[in-house]
Amino acid sequence: MSVQPAETDGKKGLVEQAWQAAVGLVVGLKSTLRTMFEPKATVIYPLEKINVSNRWHGLLALPIDPETDNDKCIICFQCERVCPDRCIHIEATGKGKDRVLTRFDIEMDKCCYCGLCVEVCPTEAIVFVPHYEASTYNRANLLYDLDDLHRAAPKEPIATGVVKVRRQVGGTR
């Protein structure tokens, strides 16, 4: 059994202790006071937004290539195979050049945003978009099908730093 700390006895100990505590309090308060005059660390979120870095693992999307007016997916199933959560589901019909996607679903609720699918994709068909606001009342909304994934791609280039935005409630869905 370990030793208990010695009880401080006598008046002098108490006075000294109180004095020490007061000094400690003043030293601590001085530091906190200094912080008051520093630039604010808080971001007023719905009014200001921190633009995420361009490597941010946000939601997934299949952006439309303006040249072909379609996504760049060549239906190689690599992303489906590498996904550790098995949340990508791809189906296709046809042979060779005429192969078309009939199903490209990503279960955004199961996805762990690891980025392995983006890494293995040979044509950069599947990308991360700098969006993260997708909360919903219904879990079924988190199953993104091909249309959703096409729509999720960003239209504008990505900026960085804190930006002011109009007050808005709710995300894209």
């Binding site: 660390a41 959560d85 996805c111 993260y132 606001e133 909360s135 009342y137 988190l142």
Partner: protein, 189 residues
């Protein structure tokens, strides 16, 4: 309900089961009720007090959400340590089968009206722990009803914030008083 014959039935003291009909029949009664409801809901939406119940990694982002940069306190999201004082529970992280009854009990201890925010993939459906796993619950909505799902692994603090904005929207639209009166009438009759 009391079976004591001498006890006055509650409905004779306050005919609650007819209260809604009466209010709606009065000229402007329904509108006044809605206005009162709006004010109440505005107050409720601006002070959602969540229970701090961190389960796994998402709890760290929840801490960030309540700390310096995002500072949830400024919009009335004040974390509480006990379920009796909380309006809302943030299920932050994966729930195991062992912890599931405790989550349920905490939820039952919270006073009505209560809300649940499911934060992260794990709380939503099991997420990365969905397959090949024997111990994680496949979604917290198997034990408690969820109001808002926030996807992400972990969701950014802003994403959780957006979830709360959604929750506030939901609270603002709720026919809170009507539901309360109807519930009281049902209990009284």
């Amino acid at each position: 309900m009391s079976t004591d014959p001498k006890a006055i039935p509650r409905s004779t003291v306050m005919p609650l089961d007819r209260a809604l009909e009466v209010i709606d029949a009065l000229p402007g009664g329904g509108a006044v009720l809605t206005k009162v409801e709006d004010v109440l809901n505005w107050g409720r939406a601006a002070s959602v007090w969540p229970l701090t119940f961190g389960l796994a990694c998402c709890a760290i982002e929840m801490m960030q959400f309540m700390a310096t940069r995002f500072d949830a306190d400024r919009v009335g999201i004040i974390p509480r340590g006990t379920p009796r004082q909380a309006d809302c529970i943030i299920v932050a992280g994966r729930a195991t089968i062992k912890i599931a009854p405790i989550v349920r009990r905490l939820w039952e201890q919270m006073p009505e009206p209560k809300y649940v925010v499911s934060m992260g993939s794990c709380a939503t459906c099991g997420g990365p722990f969905y397959y090949d796993n024997y111990s994680i619950l496949k979604g917290i909505d198997q034990v408690i009803p969820v109001d808002v799902y926030v996807p992400g692994c972990p969701p950014r603090p802003e994403a959780l914030y957006e979830g709360f904005l959604k929750l506030q929207e939901k609270i603002r639209k709720e026919p809170f008083l009507r539901r309360r009166i109807a519930a009281a009438a049902q209990a009284g009759s």
